[in-house]
Amino acid sequence: MKIRAIMVNTFREAIRDKVLYSLLFFALLMIGGSILLGRLTIGENIKIIKDMGLASISIFGLLIAIFVGIGLVYKEIDKKTIYTVIAKPVHRYQFLLGKYLGLILTLLVEVSIMSAGLLLLVLFYEGYIELSILKAILLIFFELMTITAVAILFSSFSTPILSGLFTLAVYIVGHLSRDLLAFGVESESAMIKYSTAFIYYSLPNLDNFNIKGKIVHQVLVSWEYLSFAMLYGVLYISIILLLSMVIFQRRDFK
C-alpha cells in the first residue's frame, strides 16, 4: 500500500517531466527514420527496420533509465522532499522499492509506446508480426530493469552526475564483460585472471539480454534461454536492490 503510493507518485513525477517526452519523441523519430535507411538497401528493408527499431528502444530506454532514474533518489534528498516521507511511518526500504517500481512502471509505458511504433511499422511492411520480436523486446525490458536497479544503487549514495557516469560505465562494461572474462582466462597473470573474473561476476552480464541480432536474422531463441536470462535478471536486480537498501538504511539525510 505504502510502496504503491510511492510508486504511483514517482510515476506521476516522471510523466510530468518534459525530458521524458523529448526522449520519447526522438525514439519514435528514429524508429520511423529506419524506413529511410531501409530504402538504401535491397531486399533487406524489414531487417533494417527491426534492427534499428530494437536498437532505438534499447538506447532510448537506457537514456530514460539514466536521465529520469538517476535524479530519482537524489532529487528527493536534494529538494528535501524525502524529509516529509521518511518522517511518516514508512520504512526506508519501502521508499526505495516504491521509487524503483515507479520508474519501472514509467519504463514499461515508454517501452510499450516505442514497441507499438515499431510493431506497426513491421506490420505495415511485412504484413504480420512474429512472436520473436516480442522476445527481443522482453529481454530489452529486463536489461532496462537491471540498469535501473544499478542506477538506484548509485544514486542512493552518490551525486547525479557521478551516478550517471557510473551507470553508463556499468552499461558499457556489462556488454563487454564476457570478452573480459575470455581475456582473463587467456592471460597468464593471476592478477588479471582474478580481476577480470571479479568484474565479470560483480557487474551484470548484459549480453545475456541481447538477442536483437539473432531475432533480426531469424535465428531461433529458445524459451529455455529466455527463462534463463529473465531469471538471471531477477536475481541480479534483487541483489542490487538489497544492497541499495542496506546503504540507504544507514545513511543520514543531512
Binding site: M1, A5, N9, R12, Y83, T84, I86, A87, P89, D252
Partner: protein, 310 residues
C-alpha cells in the same frame, strides 16, 4: 505523559575531505510536556534542525536515546503520532494540493474516504480550499508553508514538530501560521517548534529551550527565564508640569517626552515608588506602569555574548 524526551543525545558529523568530526549536538537532555507549545530557539547552526531530524528518523544519533510519547524513536510505528514540517517549503511541486495531501494520507495507510474527509478539513484550516486543484509549483512561499502544515496534520498527530515554521514569511503569513498553531494547542496537541524569530516564540510558547553550539543552555517558561534578569520599569504619565522633570531627573536620566506624554524608565522598585510620589504630588496622571521584562532577543544576545566569552 512526556511528549518528547531525550537523554544524552549527541550527534557528530564527519565533514570535508579529512572527515573531520564536527559536533552538531552535545548531550541533549530535553523534555517536552504533553499539551504544551515548546519553543526551541537558538542561532543558525545551533543544532535545532539536527534535533528534529533525529526525532523523525532522518539522521541517527551518534549516542544517546530519545522517546516520543513514551516509545523509542527507533520504532517506525511512533511516526503514526507525529506530524513534521521540515524547514523551508520544498515539496513535490508537480502535484496539486489535493494530490499532495492524498499521497501523504496513503503513507499512513489511511482509506480513501478517510483521507478525503480529513483533506477538506485541513484545506479549510490552512485556508487553501480555493486552490486545491493547482500544482504546488504555482504556490507562494506562504501557501507552501501552509500546505506543509496541512501535510503534517493529515494523520491527526498528537505531536507536531515544526522546523522554522515562520521563517521567510511576510507578516500576514506569520500571523496565519501563529493562529493555526494556537488552534492546534486548543485541540490538545503538543507542539515543538524551532525558530529564530524570537517575537513569535515569545507570543506563542509555554516554555522555551535555548540551544547554543549544540548545547541546551536554558529551559523554562519565558517568565522564569526573563523576569529575574530584568529590573527596568516603564512609567507613562501625562499632564506633568515642566518643573517636575527636573525633579525626576535626579532619580533617572531616562525620560522621553512626546506630545502630552512622558515616558520614564527606572531601574528599581524603590525608584519607581519615588517617581510615583512625585507624579502624585504634582497632580500628574498615571497612564501605565509596566514592569519591563527583557525581551527574549536581549536575553539571547546576552547569553550568546557570554557564550563567546567562555
Amino acid at each position: 505523559m512526556i511528549a518528547v524526551k531525550t537523554q544524552g543525545l549527541s550527534k557528530e558529523f564527519r565533514t570535508g575531505f579529512t572527515m573531520k568530526k564536527v559536533s552538531a549536538l552535545h548531550n541533549l537532555n530535553l523534555e517536552v510536556e504533553e499539551g504544551e507549545i515548546f519553543g526551541y530557539i537558538g542561532p543558525n547552526g545551533a543544532g535545532k534542525t539536527t534535533t528534529l531530524k533525529i526525532l523523525t528518523g532522518l539522521i541517527y544519533p551518534t549516542s544517546g536515546n530519545a522517546w516520543i510519547l513514551g516509545r523509542d524513536i527507533r520504532d517506525v510505528a511512533i511516526k503514526k503520532d507525529i506530524g513534521f514540517l521540515p524547514e523551508g517549503p520544498y515539496f513535490y511541486d508537480y502535484l496539486t494540493a489535493k494530490e499532495f495531501l492524498y499521497f501523504y494520507g496513503q503513507l499512513f495507510g489511511m482509506r480513501k474516504r478517510e483521507i478525503e474527509e480529513k483533506m477538506d478539513e485541513l484545506l479549510n484550516l490552512v485556508g487553501l480550499r480555493h486552490v486545491k486543484d493547482i500544482q504546488l509549483r504555482r504556490f507562494s512561499k506562504g501557501m507552501l508553508q501552509r500546505i506543509g502544515i496541512a501535510q503534517a496534520l493529515i494523520n491527526d498527530p498528537k505531536l507536531l514538530l515544526l522546523d522554522e515554521p515562520m521563517s521567510g514569511l511576510d507578516p500576514i503569513g506569520r500571523a496565519k501560521i501563529k493562529e493555526i498553531i494556537l488552534q492546534l494547542k486548543e485541540d490538545g496537541k503538543t507542539i515543538l517548534f524551532s525558530s529564530h524569530i524570537l517575537s513569535d516564540v515569545e507570543m506563542l510558547c509555554d516554555r522555551v529551550g535555548i540551544l547554543t553550539n549544540g548545547k541546551l543552555t536554558d529551559v523554562g517558561s519565558l517568565d522564569s527565564l526573563l523576569i529575574p534578569e530584568v529590573k527596568s520599569i516603564e512609567i507613562v504619565t501625562s499632564h506633568m508640569e515642566e518643573n517636575t522633570i527636573e525633579e525626576i531627573k535626579t532619580i533617572t536620566e531616562k525620560i522621553t517626552l512626546r506630545d502630552e506624554k512622558m515616558l520614564i524608565m527606572v531601574d528599581s522598585e524603590e525608584n519607581k515608588e519615588r517617581v510615583l510620589r512625585i507624579i502624585n504630588r504634582n497632580n500628574g496622571r498615571l497612564i501605565s506602569l509596566t514592569p519591563g521584562r527583557k525581551t527574549l532577543e536581549e536575553y539571547l544576545v546576552e547569553k550568546l555574548n557570554r557564550g563567546v566569552a567562555l
